[in-house]
């Protein structure tokens, strides 16, 4: 690749004081020294934006009171100053409007998941991205882990055979207590269907499961049958869901998620049993991947071991084996894929998203489809709903 003369310039919407994921995006985007944050509208509260910007050593002139103003003002800046892309890290119900605004203003967009408030918005966003021909990336960070990429590679190369059984789970106890009644900012919107959409846990962690498993296996879910629950009083959205899955290959699976699983921290775990082998990976210990084969000893593959890992896994590792990488590095790896795509676009190359390694607007739509169909399956007494 040709050498680059400059870092990409990033803007952010959301992520002000009191937020969580915005800071993660900032750190992850900057990690590899290829992106610098230069502008933002971090909150609907201008004072919050101003203070956040000051802490980030931003030019106050580029800390905007509204995202609309930001899009307009940035678009008017000279090409060598204005942002290249914006990262949207607000609650679900505003993703679509913000993304739309920036896309229409000519900016590439990175967006938190779930992508939109509902499936209709997701469809519109797909159209808009196609029309603008800009980079749109959805942040499913877990696919940035080297060993997840290696697992995908094993299935792509058919080393694992066809899928027979998938067990995917994402268990937390994040919603065990009614934080929303205690003013916990990140919980308030998540349990409010007017902000989060029809899915609670389904959107917050369920979409990660779907993205992760389909990314690894390349074997799409064709049908699902779901049963959801809400345990805490006054909550209306799902806190816990169990789902039967069927795959295009004929394989079957279970997806089980919860945000009221006492004592679980961030238990995203994937196991896929194929006809020729099985892979087991969990994000809490992401530096290892267990590999099972019939009649052979269990193997534990570790990150950073180019001797036996695929090129796709080696390409996104920063430090040697045995020195643990974690959440931020995987997140940063998604930004690396985005960076490559935006630079190609800046170089005038035709945008072929499939060449780059980050989740797209179609992955975002897939997540909304999952939420929608799971909720509908439950509404009808756990009937099978199509995911095709």
């Amino acid at each position: 690749m040709q050498p680059w003369k400059r870092k990409l310039r990033m803007g952010m919407v959301g992520g002000g004081q009191g937020a969580f994921i915005g800071g993660v995006h900032r750190t992850a985007a900057a990690l590899d020294g290829q992106i610098e944050l230069v502008a933002g509208c971090f909150s609907r509260d201008p004072e919050n934006t101003r203070q956040t910007g000051a802490q980030l050593y931003l030019d106050p002139a580029r800390c905007y009171d509204s995202y609309e103003e930001m899009a307009t003002a940035e678009a008017k800046l000279p090409a060598d100053q204005r942002i290249d892309f914006v990262s949207v890290v607000t609650p679900n119900n505003s993703h679509f409007a913000i993304a739309q605004t920036f896309l229409k203003a000519g900016f590439h967009v990175v967006c938190e998941k779930p992508m939109t408030f509902n499936l209709e918005e997701a469809d519109q966003l797909c159209q808009l991205v196609e029309q603008t021909n800009l980079v749109f990336a959805l942040m499913h960070n877990y696919t940035g882990h080297p060993l997840v990429r290696h697992a995908r590679n094993l299935f792509q190369n058919n080393e694992m055979g066809t899928v027979r059984k998938v067990v995917v789970e994402y268990l937390q106890d994040f919603l065990m207590v009614p934080h929303e009644k205690l003013g916990h900012k990140q919980v308030i919107w998540r349990v409010d269907p007017t902000q989060a959409g029809v899915g609670g846990t389904l959107g917050d962690v369920g979409t990660h499961c779907v993205n992760l498993l389909e990314y690894v296996t390349g074997d799409p879910i064709t049908e699902l049958c779901a049963d959801k629950s809400t345990f805490l009083p006054d909550r209306v959205l799902d806190e816990d869901v169990n789902v039967l899955l069927r795959f295009a290959s004929g394989g079957k699976g279970v997806l089980t998620i919860s945000q009221v699983a006492t004592g679980e921290e961030n238990g995203l775990r994937l196991r896929v049993y194929g006809s020729e082998g099985a892979v087991l990976w969990g994000q809490e210990e992401p530096n290892k991947l267990d590999l099972l084969r019939y009649g052979q000893p269990r193997q534990t593959l570790t990150r950073g071991r180019g001797e036996f890992l695929s090129e796709s896994a080696s390409a996104c590792t920063r430090i040697p084996a045995g020195h643990p990488e974690g959440y931020l590095e995987a997140f940063a790896t998604i930004y690396c894929g985005i960076t490559e795509a935006i630079r190609a676009h800046l170089d005038g190359q035709p945008l072929k998203t499939e060449q780059y390694n980050f989740p797209t607007v179609y992955d975002g739509r897939r997540g909304l489809q999952f939420i929608t169909q799971a909720v509908e399956s439950c509404a009808q007494g756990s009937i099978w709903m199509p995911m095709t």
Copy 2:
């Protein structure tokens, strides 16, 4: 307890050369020095029985050509010689007839699971046990593990609150290859519906899951919704099943089982998340139980630690903490409970099965109900079926 003057005398039906579980019953029954094997009909092939008996140093006169002959002959022996009970370790389709024969001849019975060929036989056996007032024990060995008993105790004492989520799994790769075509005796009958019944994996490992989870939680399954699969050609019974569960408490769960999960050995694992805490246990590492509580560090309880384990857990441990116990010891613990009950019966005490700690004919019926309803749920396209 009053001292005992003698060991109990055990007979066995099944368990000849080439069998697996019969030997486990013999070793487990003898482990605590309270039971001695004195008679048997180990095979339909008298020569197998004769050789098996010789290897076990049995009196050839008490190695019988048929179980009917055995029941008759033993019943005629003097009270101080004849067997006290029989252990039935044959394929599923013969359990009922054999158990019936021995119960009618006045003998206590220990039986392998699943208890009978179908639910009708299970109902009849319940009646027969009630009529004879004899001890009938079903071998669900995993409930003999001390830490399973401790987990049960935690729920009984309400230390875990009400059940919110159960994740139970039993994954093996025992049926990964068509062993039945290669003459593997233990596989041939398991994949044959005329010998195994309507459930394959459902009966072989699924019933253990149901028994284990209901034993631990005390919270019965009220409904299930199942999806079963068969992957190998020429197989007709289920090899892999996923089931949504609902519990009397309002909790939910998933049960996922397979005998074609590549690389899995004997992966029975139970996780129960209650409103006040969670327990995690797996039979491959049975000497530890993980205990989670909201806002507290994870605890790993180890077997043999009377300082913090319940009396029920301490009572069935033989060796100090750190010295691993395993499969045989848990199996033996079930026999301890049976021994106590039979001795109480011999002492003329009224039989109150609930005082003793072993699975009963009703647990056996529960297993058949699970198999039957899961198969029916699948037949109707994964509808909810009652388990009440």
Copy 3:
């Protein structure tokens, strides 16, 4: 092998009420159905012996008041009644006298470790065993684990190359509190140099380390340099010892043992790094063996997997992979080796101990040599002492 007409007949010295290891020997010896306990002198207190014998359903006539009486009386019984061997499970200081008595009376002997009170007794016992040509087995039970035998096999076959580094540890907290002041029978003699000998922890757990590592590597310790500590008031024997090791191969090692390591249960763990590979095994999870090779993924070998384990490992496994075996099974495996040797002797075959798989009188002497040299190294300020 020719079929056997009868079980071996076992006697026991020690192991009365209040003891621990005697019961383990009884259970382990009986586990495979080849040995029956028929006589014993379980305590210096005849009443204890009588009660213990009754609980074990023994003939009261063969529950003896003294071991001398037992040896004499058993020797006078007809050949088809008298014991074949005796298991000695008393405190260290009486091992020699008891073993000598029974050997001289013509009985094979199984003895707990450390073998004798001091090195001089060990030397005498070696001579006596050579003179009598009887089976003498020392109970180092941990070498009975199938995966320990597989590890040994890997070194024997030179698959691991030459030893570079050994890390062996045995950590407990058994002596954390002054149990001896609270009447704890098993502790009282262990902390008393007139009963235990010059080594405390060195004898109790250190000898297991030496036996295990030399068994696995086949590479004898040639020198050691030790530093021992005693932390609790009024204790005189070592509670914690660290030792530098040098091996015949040129490899090096550390041995670190403690009985005051807070929170450790029975942490015997061995790691051997050879020039071609490394093995890691711990007795608290004995059903797995980690195998490392340069540039390759870590492998976890599990017990019971004949597909990839050596014959020596498969030969001593009773149940399939995934069904955990533990302490008792390994202990029983040592008794299997002993049984084979005694039967060969009964068959009139010349005794070639090296054909059978159990620790011998020379292993016992090796343990005493270790204790003696480690204590001497400490006495001289941690100088190197020979182990050749």
Copy 4:
């Protein structure tokens, strides 16, 4: 703390193309958005420096041909442009000269370990730092892990009692093959005593062990007794060392390190058994800390759990529990402590290093003392050498 108007400006000596640790310093320093790299002399080869600088988007005018030039030129820049500090990431033998040059030019210094080529240089550097009153930080990154800080806190608060036993190990297979003969840049100087000093593995990983254990326990090593080995032909420095330790508290320990331990990646593990409790931590899974107490279940504390972790541990965590942090974050945390100290200095506050949390010049001297005394102990046949 008062808000800051700008990031600190960092320079670097070493870390050009082909190097490893320089890139880690750059990423770690930048991670929290408080430091920007503005100048460097990345190699003795000016072309390497030029290319490295270009990849880092640096001003070519501040990419210097020699570190002497860099110190001089930067010192002449206006106060609002010149670097605040320099990070020295060259081989050991040049650390002292470079650090001296920058300290004398008035710059704060961050230096890789081992700090100097020998103990004499270390003594001189201590004096120089005292004279200049500038910030000097040594990079022992592992003390930046939140759970290491929590472990230290437990000992500081006397919750673990007095130290009885320390087992610290650092095992790698980094030097398993003669990489130095194959042109591996990072290995060539490490195995060359004219560049590395008298210690090989002792300096490269041994010093981390000493720093980590003394940081956690606060209990200094008072004596050591060592045995070192070299296995590969043509190597002269130690590849593998075992050391007996004695502590000021009366506790004892073993330190075992290797860079030829087949299959080990970066196995730094610390276990400390105190009279009241024990802590177990390993850097390959740094997000958990096992805590043992006598008679209680094992606890596993996880990073990010402010409910039960000390303030010192919570203060250096960036993301919630369950989202793994790793090597880079801990490294960055050391830079956070350095940043605080430099800012205080810039604010004109008297420098009190002990207020800040990073390893100092005295930790560096301690490392050299360890190397020196361990080598001397070996030279004299493993005698005890003082560490006071």
